[in-house]
Amino acid sequence: MENLKFEATKYTPEINLDATGTISLVGKSYPENTFEFYAPVMEWMEKYFETSPADTTVVNMEIIYFNSSSSKLFFDFFDLLEENSSDNKVEINWIYDEENESAEEAGEDFIEDFEDLNIKLVTK
């Protein structure tokens, strides 16, 4: 499966989808059409788990701030990861600056909402 990469813009994060099992999203997220923007990412993830997932999939998310539609999208993204976490080993790192309390709280909410997922809070 081919890797997929998106460069960061002023309002979208840098995204690296590496078929060897490392997924990363780093930056800000407030696209105008969030679901449209992330559609290729969600499709890639689904295909990845269907065809050739790595033994361990590591997801690194470092989102400084995001709009509410991105919040919904990340929820759907974690939902997809959770659906695949029984057959696959998935580790998620929610990375934030220690001064960024909103990001910390967002991470804690995702941990509570996805009890079956292995989400770690990681401060920079």
Partner: protein
């Protein structure tokens, strides 16, 4: 028009910037957000509070952009007003005003009334319930924007003013305190 009057108003009310106009585009929103980032950095606003300011600003302006576009036709041009100001205590105020239809008003009002009736923990709980259920999700978003704003500000007020049949000014005012009691 005398531009010095505008300057006086900007100085008196601590306005950082305001934008009124035609087309509120995504690139304009991101440029204004960058200006806000610079402003927050220069004033040493802590990261958590400044991220709340950016999120609220983005939420309000993207909301306005979407509502205005949906009403745009030959007689109604997309228009909106967004204003960011800072008072003498360094608290931030973000206002937005745009025109909505009666059916938009009827969709918005119950959400804002619900928000007014809840405390902070109630808002956070409702936000997560709605995000999880996806019941408000539509083409542009999760339908949780007002809850996102309410979660991240210290006060949120709103009013509707009828302009003509099926058209209302929709005004939102949010306040973000920069010096919080710990």
């Amino acid at each position: 028009m005398d531009i010095s009057q505008v300057q006086t108003m900007v100085d008196q009310d601590g306005i950082i910037f305001l934008s009124y106009g035609g087309y509120l585009s995504q690139s304009l929103i991101s440029s204004m957000t960058e200006a806000l980032e610079k402003e927050a950095e220069d004033n040493g606003v802590n990261m958590s509070i400044s991220n709340n300011i950016f999120t609220i600003f983005i939420e309000l302006s993207q909301n306005m952009m979407n509502y205005s576009k949906s009403l745009e036709d030959e007689t109604n041009k997309a228009q909106g007003l967004i204003l960011v100001s800072k008072d003498i205590d360094f608290n931030y105020h973000i206002h937005s005003q745009n025109i909505v239809s009666l059916s938009d008003k009827e969709k918005i009002e119950p959400k804002l009334s619900e928000i007014q009736s809840l405390d902070k923990d109630g808002i956070k709980k409702r936000y997560r319930e709605l995000r999880k259920s996806g019941q408000n999700t539509h083409g542009k978003g999760g339908g949780i924007g007002f809850y996102e704003i309410a979660k991240k500000c210290d006060s949120i007020e709103h009013d509707f003013k009828k302009i003509q049949e099926d058209r209302y000014y929709f005004h939102i005012k949010t306040t973000i305190l920069t010096k919080k009691e710990k």
